[in-house]
Amino acid sequence: MASRVPQIVALGGGGFSMEREGSLLDDYILSLLGAARPRVCFLPTASGDADHYVVRFYRRFSPGCEASHVSLFRRDQGTGGVEDDLAAHLLSQDLIYVGGGNMVSMLGAWRAHGLDSILRRAWRRGVVMCGPSAGSLCWFEQALSAFHGAPRPVRGLGLLPYSNCVHYDAEPARREEYHRAVADGMSPGFAVEDGVGLHFRGTRLERVVSSRADGRAFFVQRRGAGVREAPLEAEPLGAGELPAAVRPLRRRAASRAAA
């Protein structure tokens, strides 16, 4: 437990909730934990603690992990997963897995239960944080939210001093909207397609991994009146060749334009 580096794996989409069983992204995240039977806690808040999501989490993680979940909606019914000391429970995990859904609702509920500050502490202590979609957006300073009305920048927890845009390939308008937001003054940041994960050590991007051969991610920053979108080198996670050591991503931009 001593002096672990804070780590976040932010997924543009994917993992057990969106991909078939045995998602390569989930395997990659588990490979970072260095525990024979890691303690993994699921936060399904962004989905409103949807039952089916909780079930799928246990299906995926209970075979190899000490799996638990925290529900912020069922705490009166004794079905809230962890009931007593949320802080002690979350701080003792190896991995906190945040589910997708609505980020604004999730952050509102987190703040009401003090989870925002608990998660910040857990991250600093080296509990690995990960998640797709809202479970990615929440770690960044700003996120592009396309929920009820025109897409707009919303504030995340700010552990990572960038902006984030997920499902970059899923909606045709998403790219244009993110570019406009960054050109209008949103922090520079990362646009990530489904199936692609950004692995940060501290606040530094370490690797970009993909469960698809053609998964892409980009760094988008303001340039003059417009933006510059630089492709990042994404490493496909092939079956059976999980990364043994973490190889720093040195050439961040350009080499493989549109894979």
Partner: protein, 281 residues
């Protein structure tokens, strides 16, 4: 989006005594699957002949059973029923402001009051609901969706019952499920006694309070044998007043019966209204 056929909705605030809140201790479509009396009463509170009603299932985390029960209850009635999810990513580009502005009734479901208010605030929905109330839309709800309108409620959002501040449109405090969850009442009374919560109401399941402005206008119930309890701390003493609600759907002299007849009668009234297009007085 369709424009409401009656076009009567006002953007201007109405007089305070025309602002309506209906707070239920429990009951309605999520709790009374075969008893529509409270929900029909909710519809009758709207000024529109065929009201637009929006269900907010936020406090439950937008659970499918609540949303399905809402649709089942209201889809066959004289109204336009929709629900608003703050979790499920529906393909909507309409802003919350636009959606709320066109409603006649906002019906708030039960669940976690702490999450409900925190999530509303995160989306700015609390302010939109206050505006809707000020322009004359009916605010209705049960449990967390009833307590949220008061200064104080008693929530079990973190397990044991504890006081929580509401939006404060109505003075005093409210505790719900007084008969269904009896462990709430002693906690509420203790907080009234030591002054951490102002006096207020304890409602049984099935009991609803109708407020116009901040004045209590009616106490109704969908179930016989239920009551509303008013408690105030006066000079350190708890002063209690029990109120017998009007039983909805009952005929005079027959307080326990007449339920099915009442449903049939309501349906006839709805059909009649639809047929003649006559507006309610």
């Amino acid at each position: 989006m369709s424009v409401h056929p009656e076009g009567h909705r006002q953007a201007e605030p109405v007089a305070p005594e025309e602002r309506t809140i209906f707070a239920m201790g429990g009951g309605g479509f999520t709790m009374e699957l075969s008893n529509p009396l409270l929900d029909d009463f909710v519809l009758s509170l709207a000024r529109a002949r065929e009201p637009r009603i929006l269900f907010l299932p936020t406090a439950s985390g937008d659970t499918a059973p609540q949303i399905n029960a809402f649709k089942a209850r209201f889809s066959g009635r004289t109204c336009t029923a929709e629900h608003l999810s703050l979790f499920r990513l529906r393909e909507t580009r309409r802003s919350l402001g636009e959606i709320v502005a066109e409603q006649d009734i906002l019906y708030v479901g039960g669940g976690s009051m702490r999450n409900l208010l925190a999530i509303w605030r995160a989306h700015g929905l609390d302010a939109l609901l206050v505006q809707a109330w000020e322009r004359g839309a009916v605010l209705a709800g049960l449990s967390a969706g009833a307590m949220c309108w008061f200064q104080w409620g008693l929530t079990r959002s973190s397990g044991p019952p504890e006081p929580i501040e509401g939006l404060g449109l109505l003075a005093g405090s409210l505790t719900v499920h007084a008969d269904g969850e009896p462990e709430r009442l002693p906690v509420w009374l203790a907080h009234l006694r030591d002054g951490t919560m102002p006096g207020g109401w304890a409602l049984d399941d099935g009991v609803g309070l109708v407020f116009h402005g901040d004045v209590l206008d009616r106490v109704v119930s969908s179930r016989p044998g239920t009551e509303a309890l008013r408690v105030d701390a006066i000079a350190g003493e708890l002063v209690r007043r029990r109120i017998q609600p009007e039983l909805l759907g009952s005929r005079a002299g027959d307080p326990l019966g007449g339920y099915d007849d009442a449903v049939e009668e309501l349906r006839r009234v709805h059909r009649l209204r639809r047929g003649t297009g006559r507006r309610r007085g």
